[in-house]
Point group: C2
Chain length 180, copies 2
């Protein structure tokens, strides 16, 4: 144990639901003090995909969000299923939500709120898009939306797109295209 680093000393499960667990972790701070923090565990990471068509245009989905109770535009995304790699999950989610497949490249592995969420989101860039069989049963509340990447970036900057991972993914992709 390195004395000037933090360590998770112990962990207890406070709640175990269908989707979430709430954990209580005892954490040693660099000054030697121990704090107890509540942490939410979604039991598995997720993927999100910036799917770029010529233009450049980007494929987003409009969906209803159960947490905030509002509709919004966001990247196609979803959880990594048991036995699946992140790459496979990205291809499956893009197929299910947009009906496309393509060439996938990992842009970043992001955290949402790493102070209290264990979940990470693997952000993929998808290019060379072609139609895929649209599988799955989760598309009934999603509406695919295709729009110019510049318009999507403008919607991030003026507050019409609000999901942090979507803003991060769109602006990273615009940054990369500008640099090429």
């Amino acid at each position: 144990m390195n004395d000037d680093r933090e360590d998770v000393l112990a962990e207890r499960v406070l709640f175990h639901g269908r989707v979430f667990s709430v954990l209580e972790r005892d954490i040693k701070l660099p000054d030697g003090g121990v704090v107890t923090w509540e942490v939410v565990d979604k039991r598995g990471d997720s993927v999100a995909i910036v799917a770029i068509a010529p233009g450049p245009e980007v494929h987003l989905v409009q969906e209803f969000f159960g947490g905030t109770g509002e509709r919004g535009l966001c990247l196609p995304k979803g959880g990594i299923d048991d036995g699946e790699t992140a790459d496979q999950a990205a291809a499956r989610e893009l197929s299910e939500e947009i009906g496309l497949t393509g060439r996938f490249e990992l842009l970043s592995t992001m955290d949402l709120s790493p102070g209290y969420l264990t979940q990470r989101t693997h952000l993929y860039l998808a290019t060379d898009l072609v139609p895929a069989h649209r599988d799955g049963d989760e598309t009934h509340h999603l509406r695919p939306v295709r729009l110019p990447l510049a318009d999507a970036v403008a919607m991030c900057v003026d507050g019409r797109i609000t999901e942090a991972r979507t803003i991060a993914g769109l602006l990273m992709t615009a940054h990369r295209i500008r640099a090429e």
Copy 2:
């Protein structure tokens, strides 16, 4: 009730902890079906601040994240206390974590993972920075880091900065400065 929109029909508390509650919400979908989703409620929104000094340089903090168990660089941020406005929380957090105050402007109100989190983060740009009294007791595990905005943007793009709100805030600020 608008039949082609979603509605939250009912909500039950499954768990009530010190920081989090887990709720179960019955949600009517546009096709008339009803689904039950688990939602995490952190009971209150948060603020994050992109504090820009001449250069332009940006003030970040390195901290330990209890959720992911790792250290990382992120924007100064924190919860809005009872009786506090978002503006007041932004000024307090920047003072506590960086020791500065300045002129604050709301850039965006972001959601983290709106499908299952109720929490929103009000993202502020802070400029015209001047020293503030450093109050509070939460700084012992935070290390302020000041670096060129261009370097911080490069760290977002190459994966060294991983927190989605921090990536979103830094790239939105760089976009805005470039447009000016």
